[in-house]
């Protein structure tokens, strides 16, 4: 039952790459956004916050359309990136990664922000008195302390990326070997009468992958927790 076709192996590999890249590439931005939301106050913050949550609130298909309009070959951002940085999203796995990153972004930001809100700022003060500049405080104190939130955000982002197909398929279509992820493949099977077995098979694969990621994250979290008990 778990014999996968070449195409399915490709889809699995692609899913892992897309989800991995999406999570890692968006992480710095997620941390930055969380920091801005948690630690600063500015006019229009609610709008910023709302914009980050949009991909969660909107039907994925709409997000996909918006991505297409913005990051497609003809889109403003897409055009700019292609011209100046040589980054092309349309019909590439990079586009799938972008879609996955955008869809997972609110989840990552929320988790990280939640941790950030909970950081005892007295520890940051202590680090500052010891000569650490704000950036050094962030790297040596804040970042390690929000480790659980970052990890949690990454798990959510990864899981979401594995399951996402609505925005992906709309944005970069469903090209086997390039943009067809496991989720798209499963979706495709569900559309065909009599393909239930195949869909189930791939679903089990997806479950296995997520389970592995989850267990790894729990293990990492426990490792971190073991070291730091109380203050």
């Amino acid at each position: 039952m778990f014999h996968l076709s070449v195409e399915e192996w490709t889809a699995l590999a692609l899913s892992l790459r897309v989800a991995g890249v999406a999570v890692l590439a968006s992480l710095p931005f997620a941390v930055a956004a969380a920091w801005v939301l948690s630690r600063t106050r500015f006019v229009g913050q609610a709008i910023f916050d709302g914009a980050i949550h949009l991909p969660l609130t909107l039907p994925p298909v709409v997000t996909g359309y918006l991505l297409l309009l913005t990051f497609g070959r003809q889109g403003v951002a897409g055009h700019f990136l292609a011209e100046h940085l040589g980054i092309v999203f349309s019909f590439r796995w990079t586009g799938a990664a972008l879609a996955a990153a955008v869809m997972g972004f609110p989840l990552m930001v929320r988790s990280i922000r939640l941790s950030l809100d909970g950081v005892d700022t007295r520890l940051e003060e202590a680090a500052a008195t010891l000569g650490a500049r704000p950036l050094a405080v962030f790297v040596t104190v804040t970042l390690p302390l929000i480790g659980p939130g970052i990890l949690s955000g990454m798990v959510l982002g990864f899981a979401r990326a594995m399951g996402e197909f609505g925005a992906t398929i709309t944005f970069v279509s469903n090209i086997p070997g390039e943009t067809q992820t496991l989720a798209s493949a499963i979706y495709t099977y569900t559309q065909v009468p009599g393909a239930d077995a195949q869909a189930l098979r791939l679903t089990l694969v997806a479950i296995a992958v997520s389970m592995t990621a989850l267990i790894a994250s729990e293990w990492l979290a426990r490792l971190g927790r073991k070291r730091a008990v109380g203050t």
């Binding site: 202590a126 000569g131 971190g224 070291r227 730091a228």
Partner: protein, 367 residues
């Protein structure tokens, strides 16, 4: 090494409004709980941006709200022992101790030998690889002290640093602080409720109450002020004698001193002959005698004259003496006072046991 602090700040219902200065050395902040000591220290550290502030250390303006100067904490080169330990929970004890060194200028880093010495002194060697969550309360406090001392500070802020440290360890740590004060010549702001620590360490004493300055001056002067109930009512009220070291008697581990009123034998002091020391003489340790008794264990007797008599609570009388220029306080029961017929102008002998001198710092440099 001088320090100049002027602050005005409101937090909640509490208003801070005070100014004091110190020529250097160790200045103690003393005052009841909630009087604003920590608030002052936080302002000096730069963790609190007071509404109006001017803080100058050693000629360097850290804060001047009028001139819109505010040096951020990380550029003040301070070592701050917080009232609660505030160790970094994700770092080991060793990393916590090293932390300040990561940011200190190259030349200023503490040597491995100094590190080892302090670790030994604080008795935290076996804890180095542990994380703060697995330490006892006192262990945490000791690590916090070590962390501040090892950051090569140019200003030390210590907020009740020894509150949970046992007596024996305290007696090992205090000389180290004295060394920071006298040899490394780091200005120190020291908050404590323990008068013995204050007397021993502080050249200057700042008394705060309800956010306002009650008194500020050389420790001896402030402590002998009888208008400060904060001290007069305390069991350990007393006077500070200034004396010159004449010689040391190594065999008996004693030092011979000369003060205006005469000579004194005290437990061996670390000051060199010729140096000046301050000695805290608790009023309750001074015995008064009309005539000099013989065959008595007390080595010290100063002849003095009663300057004033005052009630000091609980059926006791505070006697202010002048011993040839040296002020002295003695507390006796009212019964004794009547039996001896104490009155202003009476000449008598003040007896002080050598062992009753709390070890006072060799403070020549600190005054």
């Amino acid at each position: 090494m001088s320090l100049e602090v002027g602050l005005r700040h409101r937090q909640g219902a509490f208003a801070l409004d005070l100014a004091f200065d110190s020529p250097g050395g160790l200045v103690a902040l003393f005052g009841p709980s909630g009087s604003g000591k920590t608030t002052v220290v936080r302002a000096i550290a730069g963790l609190l941006r007071a509404e109006q502030a001017r803080i100058v250390v050693d000629g360097q303006v850290l804060v001047d709200s009028a001139a819109r100067v505010f040096l951020p904490p990380h550029r003040r080169r301070i070592g701050y022992v917080f009232q609660e330990p505030r160790l970094l929970p994700h770092l080991s004890v060793r990393q916590n101790l090293d932390y300040g060194g990561w940011f200190a200028p190259r030349g200023a880093r503490v040597s491995a030998a100094e590190f080892a010495r302090l670790v030994e002194l604080l008795d935290i060697g076996p804890l180095l690889s542990r994380h703060p969550g697995r330490l006892s309360g006192g262990e945490r406090q000791r690590v916090a002290i070590g962390r501040a001392l090892l950051s090569s500070p140019q200003l030390l802020l210590m907020d009740e640093p020894l509150s949970q440290i046992d007596e024996n360890r305290k007696n090992e740590i205090l000389p180290y602080i004295e060394r920071m004060r006298d040899e490394v010549r780091v200005p120190i702001v020291y908050v404590s409720h323990a008068l013995d620590e204050v007397v021993r360490l502080a050249g200057r004493l700042v008394c705060i109450q309800d956010g306002r300055l009650l008194a500020c001056g050389p420790t001896g002067e402030v402590l002998t002020r009888t208008d400060l109930p904060m001290f007069a009512q305390r069991a350990d009220a007393g006077a500070v004698l200034e004396a010159r070291v004449l010689a040391h008697d190594e065999a008996y581990a004693l030092s011979r001193l000369a003060c205006a009123g005469g000579e004194l034998w005290v437990p061996r002091l670390p000051a060199p002959p010729g140096g000046t020391v301050r000695l805290w003489v608790r009023a309750q340790d001074v015995m008064l005698a009309l005539e000099l008794p013989q065959g008595i264990s007390a080595l010290n007797h100063l002849q003095g004259e009663v300057l004033a008599l005052g009630d000091s609570g609980l059926g006791t009388v505070m006697v202010r003496l002048d011993c040839g220029g040296t002020p002295l306080l003695a507390r006796v029961t009212r019964l004794s006072a009547e039996r001896l017929r104490l009155r202003v102008g009476l000449r008598l002998q003040a007896l002080i046991k050598s062992v009753s001198f709390p070890l006072a710092g060799a403070a020549a440099g600190a005054l």
